[in-house]
């Protein structure tokens, strides 16, 4: 992953990425990436929640509101949920949430979902690298920045 720290191509823009991950699969997957010293870009900030079932759409909106250029939501694969069904409930809500975002024109290329298990350190590292690279390509999320910075209406 040599390109990961090289951002010359995108004239110095370093995306801000907020990741909401579940405690039992993806968080541990990220731990494993560490234990195996798998390097990936430093752009991501991980927020640990017990389960993807706990991840509310308002959190994603909030992430955009604080200026995230991309958001990651990740948890256990179907069938692996530590709480047996949290990820299934989450999957449903995401399906619907994407619909309204689509109509609103929120760029879905900036909101990423993944199943990453505690054993998939490699997948985590690769996933973060890919999201970072893609977001570098897309550039800062100016459309939402405009919303944030707009004067009182």
């Amino acid at each position: 992953m040599s390109e990961t720290t090289d951002s010359a191509a995108t004239n110095g823009f370093e995306p801000r990425i907020i990741a909401f991950v579940c405690n039992w699969c993806t968080y541990l997957g990220a731990d494993l990436a560490g234990t195996n010293r798998l390097e990936y870009p430093s752009n991501v900030r991980i927020i640990r929640l017990p389960c993807t079932g706990r991840i509310d759409f308002n959190l994603v909106v909030k992430a955009l509101e604080v200026g995230a250029d991309a958001v990651i939501i990740s948890g256990c694969h179907p069938g692996d949920c530590h709480y047996t069904a949290g990820n299934y409930h989450a999957r449903r809500r995401w399906m619907l949430f994407r619909e309204v975002l689509q109509t609103l024109g929120v760029d879905l290329r900036r909101i990423h979902f993944a199943w990453i298990s505690a054993a998939e350190g490699k997948k985590w590292a690769q996933f973060v690298a890919d999201v970072t690279a893609q977001t570098r390509e897309l550039g800062p999320y100016n459309e939402y920045r405009q919303i944030i910075e707009a004067e009182v209406s």
């Binding site: 720290t5 801000r16 907020i18 968080y27 541990l28 990220a30 731990d31 494993l32 990436a33 560490g34 234990t35 010293r37 798998l38 390097e39 990936y40 430093s42 900030r45 991980i46 927020i47 640990r48 929640l49 017990p50 389960c51 079932g53 706990r54 991840i55 509310d56 959190l59 909030k62 992430a63 604080v66 200026g67 995230a68 949920c81 530590h82 709480y83 047996t84 069904a85 949290g86 409930h89 989450a90 809500r93 590292a125």
Partner: protein, 667 residues
């Protein structure tokens, strides 16, 4: 203004190499509410923890952030340290700057910047942590054991001997399960009944074991520590108290030709019967399908003969409720049958073995009855079709097991051993007999197991063919078994008098239904799922429910017994406490703002949320509300996400905590 202490760990070089801990410390020290920020080489070491404890006291800290490794690694450690210094352990958070930072980045500048933000997030979170006390739930110190096989018996006796009451429920008229029907057991060849029946008697006589035979669990309510279990006691038509078990009734019963379940259909029993002489309880039942009186009102000689007048033809099923604090499932196994119709669409049966239509093709448990001294043949090996002594028997292992074609991928584990045992027993009884065994691999892992198999081959001359049997056909009175010997690399055809199939072990009937009642998961084959394959092997994801024996996976007797004792141990540990204490990081509802749409009730994976009412002091109805049962909540937070008014929140991952974490990342 809060007084938070931030302790940054170098983890030797692991963190310090890539993160400028000094700068981190200085920067964090500036964050409002941070009282002290220090760094140290090894925070988890004794001196490290000591320094934390001292600072807590000196600075009267009300919040703690340890910036070091993953919380999965050391959160408990540091919470303990805090508690030792008098700080509520739930006021401690960790900032993972090792696994999630120093170990995965190569640019010290970026890594340091990231570390600072990670710690800031933790500071913002811990600022909003609440001091929590472990949840205490009163419990009924009484255990339910479902299944009276060897595992259930062991579990029940261990718990009872530990001083707690046990309710043991068995579907059949007697406890004993499959083991009671076995002839002799590997690798010692000691008689199964000789070792089991004394244990059965112990159960029957134990002052703290309440036995419900001929009964089934019908419903389960409640949660860990406080289960209410409905048990259907099937009509027995015999008054257990009046009956003395003298046996006059079954002696005179005219209905003889009923296949004996205990003898695996190899022998017959009366309509009123005890399954086997050493049955516990030694009280008969009447098979209402077979009883002439119950079928057409004629007969009733047993009632006439019964001196204590224990026969009660008007007996009815009865559903009783038992209150228990823990449940052990020990429902055991059944054998895969090779017939065409199966209960599961994935299973196909064995057309190549004649779909079980050949009388002299039997399964392992049937052979056990043939070989058993107490069996229908008194221990003489006679084939079912004509009672002749088979001079040549073919034993086939892995029937169903390890055979995707027929729906099952797993190894049934015990077959290699009992096939060898069967070959031995046969040779011991029929000296001039030939025992041929078709196998895929011989899996004889276990104390004295391999030696046992060698004995079967070397001393008793069992002939092993490494290969599968492709077809069994019947030619003029013989069973023609066609297979391959892959070691010789040639087809083998054996004209046998009898074939014994080592059929796969499957979870016993109804196990899945029971699992659902208890909120326990099952795998694709219906075996109950343990909570963790390595570290929580007898626990399940349903608090207070434990598993042991073959309901969990194929197992032999020693394993089932060991696991049963383990499960009993877990229950005893639970009961040893005054009340249940559970992790307080659970959800709770703001009942005043709850709109009672009950989306959370539908979403909760643990049925931990109930529909409740808010009442005023006089008990008048004010409003409906959702209410979390802290005894059941596992803290996943799914309810929080689906609550439109955010009237439910989760301790440890509260809305305030998470949002402030996100906001701390604001540009």
């Amino acid at each position: 203004m809060s007084r938070i202490g931030v302790f940054t760990c170098w983890c030797g070089e692991n963190i310090a190499r890539m993160v400028d801990v000094q700068r981190v410390t200085e920067t964090i020290a500036q964050v409002p509410g941070v009282r002290v920020a220090v760094n140290y080489k090894y925070m988890c070491s004794d001196p490290g923890q000591a320094s934390i404890r001292d600072k807590i006291v000196e600075e009267k800290l009300d919040g703690l952030v340890v910036a070091a490794c993953s919380p999965h690694m050391h959160l408990k450690t540091f919470r303990r340290a805090a508690a030792a210094a008098g700080l509520n352990p739930y006021l401690v958070e960790m900032a993972n700057i090792r696994e999630h930072c120093s170990w995965v980045h190569k640019d010290k500048e970026l890594a340091t910047a990231k570390a600072i933000e990670i710690i800031r997030m933790a500071v913002e979170k811990v600022r909003r942590n609440h001091a929590l006390q472990p949840i205490r739930v009163p419990m009924t110190k009484r255990a339910l054991v479902v299944g009276g096989g060897v595992a259930g018996i062991q579990a029940a006796l261990d718990i009872a001997d530990a001083g707690y009451e046990v309710v043991l429920v068995e579907r059949d008229p007697s406890i004993g399960g499959k083991m009671a029907g076995l002839s002799e057991t590997f690798p010692t060849l000691d008689c199964s009944q000789c070792i089991l029946t004394p244990r059965m008697v112990e159960v029957g006589q134990h002052p703290r074991i309440k036995l419900h035979t001929y009964s089934e669990v019908e419903g389960v309510e409640g949660f860990v520590g406080n289960f209410k279990v409905q048990i259907r006691k099937k009509a027995r038509y015999v008054d257990m108290i009046k009956c003395t078990g003298c046996g006059d009734c079954w002696a005179v019963c005219p209905s003889k030709k009923n296949l004996s379940e205990f003898d695996q259909g190899m022998g017959y029993r009366k309509a009123i019967y005890i399954p086997f002489p050493q049955a516990v309880p030694a009280r008969p039942v009447i098979d209402k399908e077979a009883c002439l009186y119950l079928k057409n009102g004629k007969c009733g000689v047993c009632a006439k003969k019964c001196v204590p007048q224990a026969i009660n033809f008007s007996d009815q099923d009865e559903v009783i409720t038992e209150e228990v604090g823990a449940v052990i499932v020990a429902t055991g196994y059944r054998l895969y049958n090779i017939t065409k119709d199966q209960d599961n669409s994935k299973l196909t049966g064995y057309g190549e073995y004649g779909y079980g239509l050949y009388k002299d093709v039997i399964d392992g448990l049937q052979f056990e009855r043939l070989a058993s001294a107490s069996g229908p043949t008194g221990g003489a090996i006679k084939r079912p079709s004509d009672g002749a002594e088979p001079k040549k028997i073919v034993f086939i292992s892995c029937v169903g097991s390890r055979d995707e074609q027929h729906g099952m991928t797993y190894c049934s584990k015990i077959c290699c051993m009992y096939v060898a045992k069967h070959a031995m027993l046969y040779k011991h009884k029929v000296h001039d007999g030939e025992a041929h065994i078709f196998y895929m691999d011989i899996r004889a892992g276990g104390k004295n197991y391999e030696e046992f198999v060698r004995r079967a081959i070397e001393q008793d001359g069992a002939v092993y063919h490494r290969g599968r049997v492709s077809k069994i056909t019947q030619e003029n009175g013989k069973l023609v078994v066609r297979g391959a010997d892959t070691l010789l690399g040639q087809p083998v055809t054996i004209e046998a008098d009898m074939v014994v199939l080592a059929s796969a072990m499957r979870p016993s009937e109804g196990a899945t239904r029971l699992a659902q009642m208890l909120n326990v998961g099952v795998d694709e084959f219906g075996f109950l799922s343990e909570s963790h394959p390595k570290l929580r092997p007898v626990e399940t994801n349903a608090a207070g429910v434990f598993i042991c024996g073959a309901c969990h996976a194929p197992k032999d007797i020693p394993e089932a017994v060991a696991q049963a004792s383990a499960a009993a141990g877990k229950v005893a540990i639970m009961f040893a406490n005054e009340e249940l204490t559970r992790d307080p990081e659970v959800a709770s509802v703001n009942e005043l703002t709850c709109a009672a749409c009950f989306t959370c009730v539908r979403a909760c994976p643990y049925t931990a949320i109930e529909k409740a009412m808010v009442l005023d002091g006089r008990g008048n109805f004010i409003k409906n509300t959702a209410r979390v049962n802290p005894g059941l909540c596992m803290g996943c937070g799914t309810c929080v996400a689906v609550c439109p008014s955010k009237s439910v929140d989760l301790e440890g991952f509260s809305e305030e905590q998470i949002y402030s974490q996100v906001e701390s990342l604001a540009l």
